[in-house]
Point group: C2
Chain length 190, copies 2
DNA sequence: GTCTATAATAGGATAGAC
DNA sequence: GTCTATCCTATTATAGAC
């Protein structure tokens, strides 16, 4: 049995790139095969359930990324302001300053939504809960924390859409900057 | 020559529905044929360029909708606050209270982006300019008006993404309400 | 303007050898 | 774990009759 050409983690990472760029329907096996360097047979060896398995793996990657780059920083020992700064810096990097899309958006569309809504929902809630927890720690009421957290995620996702529509990364970068000021303001007021 | 089964405007409207729901790649001729009640031959009679022509028609419908439901209300004779209220009410209806997606998002993805970026960009700018004009009329500086307009569109698009991801229309409805307060606040301060 | 039929291709998925 | 070959379906698009 031949050795794997790529470690499985690397396969998952490249899968993630294809799905975030082209969406569920646009992520054809031809593109996936090219991006990973793996033939169809190898792909089905890793993911016996085919494209659906791959999409679920992609959402798993997204959750892992969030856990490491959003949840963990928001629970670190640093000051509340510093934790927010770290999350925003990680978002900038993860979304390539606003030129990359978000799988939460892409896998919530069309028929993909029906198949993967559970996973998409869980992924967003992971993000929301981490923000809510931080805001409550800062003395904000639970209801208000939920509202602010939702608004933050709304702005990030919206900025990605508009930045793409205008081909202008500054829309994303500026939105994150305004978000930092808005979140800091809420926390200082609490 | 048989009479048309549907007026052309109605065909365009149904096309719009299919593309906004399934995206460019998900909008298969089978689905389009079903939604319009037209056979393939009739579709190619209306749109000789095939799917690309249809997608461009869809973006034309979007611009027409914006002109009527966003640009015109924002330039009406009513008070500034009333004009904003009207735009937001129209957005609620046009996006079915947050359960429908936006073609600006869907046609800016994957390979559709390469084909239709010009039209997508124009559509967003139509919206932005209408908002900027209103804000400048209220005494806000051009640079600031641009920032506020971008933030408004960012929030609407983001709210649609998150509302879909959570299957919760309230995310959209509440975001529009907060947007009204935010815009009114900016105007009152100017 | 619509119909039926069909071409031509691309898509997802599987079988069996090594 | 990877390869080559293959199957089947769905997809876009066209041709020609009415």
């Amino acid at each position: 049995m031949p050795a794997p050409l790529i470690p499985k983690d690397e396969v998952s990472a490249r899968l993630f790139g294809v799905f975030r760029t082209y969406g569920y329907e646009g992520a054809t096996l031809a593109r996936i095969s090219e991006a990973t360097g793996l033939g169809r047979a190898s792909l089905y060896h890793y993911f016996p359930g085919g494209k659906d398995d791959m999409a679920r793996e992609v959402l798993g990657v997204a959750r892992g990324w969030l856990a490491q780059n959003v949840v963990a920083p928001l629970q670190s020992a640093a000051s509340i302001h510093a934790r927010i700064k770290t999350m925003l810096a990680n978002l900038r990097e993860g979304y390539s300053d606003g030129s990359a899309s978000c799988v939460i958006n892409l896998l919530g569309l069309g028929e993909a939504d029906e198949k993967f809504h559970g996973d998409v929902n869980d992924t967003v809630e992971l993000w929301l809960h981490a923000l809510e927890r931080l805001l409550k720690e800062a003395g904000i009421t639970p209801a208000r924390a939920r509202r602010i957290a939702l608004d933050a995620v709304v702005r990030v996702e919206g900025a990605l859409v508009v930045a793409r529509a205008l081909h202008d990364k500054n829309v994303f970068l500026r939105t994150l900057y305004e978000l930092e000021r808005a979140l800091s303001g809420e926390i200082d007021r609490a």
